[in-house]
């Protein structure tokens, strides 16, 4: 049994029964799952949570799922102390939350595991999504596990590796030939026309809750405490708001001390509507048309942008963007210091972290967690000119000739 009791409008507070519904009828603002925290608190302890399965489902009682979950082995990913990277950036207590190590290589598995579980509970036999790759793979994989049909819409310029990463699970893959805006418009219409469980539309409130587990895990892995600072990427802004909600809930349930974490949003400069609003001191997000190679976080009109912005402001955090070049440099730095190969969104996080540390916004001694949300190998085309091997003949003389000087200088 879950402690979820209603869907609640984030703006006007209007409540709705737990159903596949995304927006408030009155003010058209996003709906959010609300819980009976009093009852939840009675049933939870650190010891019990720590004894649960080594996956996101150890926090099952804090998620809105009633029936059996659709789980492909997501979560409880490593939180590693990143001393090498920290030294480069001037941070003494830096940690990487490595969500590259989820079953489909991104944090999306957290959100989708909850969304597909709910889809099955609601009686849908089909789930769908529109994605530039990460969400597509995750939805297809979970649908395969749940034996449900999946329709996955992708823009025609998706990286080939991301297409393969979704196609392997055999969803019905629909490639849309058109601009970014065209794909968006089409998928909004598709979602209206067919009665599917659309992962990030009518199932969005449940989808959102899955990402809270990232916040829970960080706190538990730090020995039941919230970090001083979190840097996380934002596309629609949902993950960012849910990391915060996760920490906040733990405090509310008495599992950690009151949270004083500064939350920092990382975006790519070519698609940074939330950072723009933060810098302008505005509460409203003006949509932009994305232009960046960091496609996984290129959202021009972020559904939860306003709420992500509010979290950054109210937590005493901030928002910062880096350009594509800085993002790629960040990917390389992370790989070459910590051995973690992230996709460009991870490079954005590292680039932003570098800026925030250099400008003294994040201080050397602050316990900082960088959220690395997706793995690199599926988007190799963003890395040009990094494979420069020494070509040798299969003779020791040839090896000596080619790398001898290098070996001696080491």
């Amino acid at each position: 049994m879950s402690y979820a009791r209603a869907l609640r409008c984030r703006k006007c507070g209007q409540e709705y029964p737990l159903q596949p519904l995304n927006r408030c009828d009155f003010c058209l603002s996003p709906l959010e799952v609300s819980y009976d925290y009093k009852a939840m608190a009675r049933g939870l302890s650190r010891e019990e949570l720590a004894a649960g399965p080594r996956s996101m489902w150890r926090y099952r009682d804090m998620l809105p799922v009633e029936g059996e979950e659709v789980d492909i082995g997501t979560g409880f990913t490593p939180l590693v102390k990143a001393d090498n990277l920290g030294r480069e950036l001037g941070l003494d207590r830096l940690y990487i939350k490595n969500d590259c190590l989820n079953p489909t290589y991104s944090f999306k598995d957290r959100a989708v595991s909850v969304a597909v579980s709910k889809a099955r509970e609601f009686g849908f036999d089909t789930v769908a999504c529109a994605s530039t790759g990460n969400l597509a793979a995750s939805v297809a994989a979970h649908a395969a596990k749940a034996k449900m049909r999946a329709y996955v819409f992708v823009p025609s310029d998706v990286e080939p590796g991301k297409l393969v990463g979704a196609a392997i699970y055999d969803p019905i893959l629909v490639k849309v030939d058109g601009s970014y805006d065209d794909v968006n418009r089409l998928c909004t219409e598709v979602a209206k026309r067919y009665s599917w469980g659309f992962i990030n539309i009518n199932l969005r409130p449940y989808y959102a809750e899955g990402s809270k587990t990232l916040g829970y895990e960080v706190a538990e892995q730090l020995g039941w405490r919230a970090p001083d600072c979190v840097v996380a990427p934002a596309a629609s802004g949902l993950l960012f708001t849910r990391i915060w909600k996760g920490l906040d809930e733990l405090a509310m349930l008495g599992l950690i001390e009151p949270v004083n974490t500064h939350m920092y949003i990382a975006q790519a400069a070519g698609s940074s509507p939330i950072v723009n609003a933060f810098n302008a001191g505005s509460l409203h997000i003006n949509p932009v048309t994305p232009d960046t190679i960091v496609k996984s976080i290129a959202i021009g009109n972020p559904a939860d942008g306003h709420y992500a912005l509010m979290v950054a402001r109210q937590s005493g955090g901030g928002a910062c963007a880096v350009d594509d070049e800085e993002a790629i440099a960040g990917v390389q730095l992370l790989a070459q210091t910590e051995g973690i190969f992230a996709e460009a969104a991870g490079g954005v996080v590292v680039g932003v972290l570098r800026k925030l540390a250099a400008s003294g916004v994040i201080k050397r001694g602050e316990l900082t967690v960088a959220s690395i949300t997706g793995a690199g190998p599926r988007t190799q085309e963003v890395l040009t000119d990094i494979v420069r091997p020494f070509a040798v003949q299969p003779t020791i003389e040839s090896v000596e000739e080619s790398i001898g000087a290098l070996v001696r200088s080491a």
Binding site: L28, K108, N184, C187, P287, A298, N301
Partner: protein
């Protein structure tokens, strides 16, 4: 009849123009404002449009041609 929920973003020079009024009149669309804010240099309105699909399509095209940015209220549906 169909209903669509959209957000209009007005640049400064259009804030004073009765665009939503004209939209209702010229295209037989019922406009229903749910949320809005106008500052000195920009304005946005979240509203529901109700009418024939064809009228709504043409209406949105007209509003866009005036220089107003039109986005779906649900935000972008395509995700990472």
């Amino acid at each position: 009849m169909t209903k669509t929920q959209v957000m209009f973003t007005f640049p400064q020079e259009l804030i004073r123009e009765p665009i939503i009024y004209s939209l209702g009149h010229q295209f037989k669309i019922v406009t229903n404002i749910r949320r809005a804010d106008v500052t000195e240099n920009r304005g946005w309105v979240v509203l529901e449009l109700e009418g024939e699909e064809k009228d709504i399509e043409q209406g949105i095209a007209w509003v866009t041609s005036k220089g107003v940015r039109v986005d779906p209220v649900v935000g972008d549906v395509v995700e990472g």
